[in-house]
Symmetry: C2
Subunit: 334 residues, 2 copies
């Protein structure tokens, strides 16, 4: 079972929690300047450190060379947010270490030598950081990680120097983001070093009211503080969203959500962006308790992604995917 099919605390509003640690091995250039041998060296050092560890967490992990993953599966991994688009593109010599539910993944040879990623459903910052630390401990025990006593962990990009930590939560905020004080909230989060972005990056309007909130500062602040502050921000946003849910006209909300459910169950052609909007509308109704449905709407969104569809059903034009997507969503919601 994938991490995104599992339940998590407050997962009606917090779609996922992600912790990323950037690490590099001492004495080897950054991946942008690495040759084949150096890639292999990095792969082997990390593989050995992690897979041969006696830590219980090491048991479920698998080392896979990216060349052994077919192109269509690589594209699906991007859609599942397991690897970055750049890593899928420049996959030669790279490798990944991954758990069966994909909640733990380690990209080898991305921007840094090592990118540890923990992704969990709902709001689970401490838990995700705890797992990331276990992985980090296995590494540091066996490998010589580049660390400077003043600068902390050394990374390719200076914005990651220090802790190498990026903590983020993906939140569904349809009511908060339409309320008047959302902009001032973003501004004050920014002042304490956190950014709020729409799903497809900064500056863009959020797709389906999905926002990613993450720390920008990795120097001069402890991992503990970064995570605690983000947790407070997320909890405040949950509280605010819930308050707005309790104030909104229930019939209107039920109407919006049930219409989305009706369309998902009956439509024959659904584009990617309409799917997101429908899942968003369905989600807010489930979150507010006006409709009962034992599903996690945003888990479905992976099923409707282009490459995930094509991996299952073969190559298709965009128009045919819209038809197939509608069929898949219908089947799931039957």
């Amino acid at each position: 079972m994938s991490w995104y099919d599992r339940k998590g605390p407050n997962d009606d509003i917090v779609v996922s929690t992600r912790i990323r640690l950037a690490r590099n091995l001492r004495g080897i250039p950054f991946p942008a300047k690495m040759n084949k041998e150096q890639f292999e060296k990095v792969n082997n050092i990390v593989k050995e450190a992690v897979l041969n560890s006696s830590a219980p967490i090491a048991k479920g992990l698998k080392f896979i060379k990216m060349e052994d993953i077919p192109a269509n599966e690589r594209a699906c991994m991007v859609e599942r947010h397991i690897i970055s688009p750049a890593f899928a593109e420049n996959y030669q010599n790279r490798a990944i270490i991954i758990s069966s539910d994909e909640s733990i993944s380690i990209m080898l040879g991305e921007e840094d030598h090592i990118r540890i990623q923990i992704i969990l459903p709902g709001l689970q910052l401490e838990k995700a950081y705890e797992i990331a630390s276990l992985v980090d401990d296995m590494l540091c025990e066996k490998a010589d990680i580049a660390f400077h006593k003043e600068l902390g962990f050394l990374t390719e990009c200076p914005t990651n120097l220090g802790t190498g930590l990026r903590a983020s939560v993906m939140m569904h905020l349809p009511l908060s983001s339409e309320s008047g004080n959302f902009k001032s909230f973003i501004d004050s989060a920014s002042k304490i070093g956190y950014t709020v972005r729409g799903l497809y990056g900064e500056g863009t309007k959020a797709t389906a009211y999905l926002y990613q909130i993450s720390n920008q500062i990795t120097l001069g602040i402890s991992e503990k503080s970064v995570i605690e502050n983000l947790k407070v921000i997320a909890e405040n946003l949950i509280k605010n969203e819930k308050e707005l849910q309790s104030k909104i006209d229930k019939t209107k909300l039920e109407d919006i959500s049930m219409r989305a459910l009706g369309t998902l169950k009956y439509a024959r052609i659904i584009s990617s962006s309409e799917m997101m909007q429908l899942l968003s509308n369905l989600s807010v109704g489930i979150s507010a308790g006006v409709i009962e449905k034992d599903i996690k709407p945003f888990a479905l969104f992976i099923e409707g992604q282009p490459h995930t569809l094509m991996k299952k059903y073969g190559e298709m034009t965009a128009a045919d995917r819209d038809i197939k997507r509608a069929g898949v969503l219908r089947d799931v919601l039957k």
Copy 2:
């Protein structure tokens, strides 16, 4: 069972056929100038002529004084197209003779003394005219109907002089009316004396692609010709609409119709105009055979009319009617 719940030929495209005959009694002023006694005289003469007739058709007919019909039911009768809004408004002294399925109705004291109306589902012009003639025969046998050997039947408004006949069909033409040659069709129908109107009268854009086509000429043309020509026009329009159905992308059409069905089955708030649009979208899918559903969408439309809703469920604001309407439509389509 109401006439509109019954099946009729081509009722997937022709919602209804209507025949109206305008008649007046000799020697009595037109209703606009009638006093109480004259109204009573007209009511009694027609009541006697029709209800005491030995014709089989007379058996199912009932005479009702409009004063004995409560205001909310009068409003519902307008919504069912049984009486005109003016007749519902100025109901004093007036009466109606009506069959149990409401396919036959005779307004007494509308613009003319006598307005015979036959309304049947689907395309049934000859049949409707035949029934109208039977009613007319009962009248003419017993009552002294104003008839001029050159002008024909005398009527209050000169546009009805002659046959006093208005034959009309209400057609659902979503594809034809969006096609390029619909305007030229309207123009040529107009040249031979027929008008094509949107549901809510000339000049307005058709609600839900419903068009009423009727003869404008009542002088110098026989009833038979009026009806035959209208039948040809209607049959051509059916053929054209069917041809367009066969050419349109089936998945697209299925998508439109199924979405309408999904919304009708799931929405919690539906306005009158949205209902019409949804029923129109559902109807075209049923007509084209892309979805199977043993219902007549436009029969549901009566159930969602404001006064019909309020007669069943009590006085309501427009906002509450939208909620009740959604509930009624959901129940019917369950």
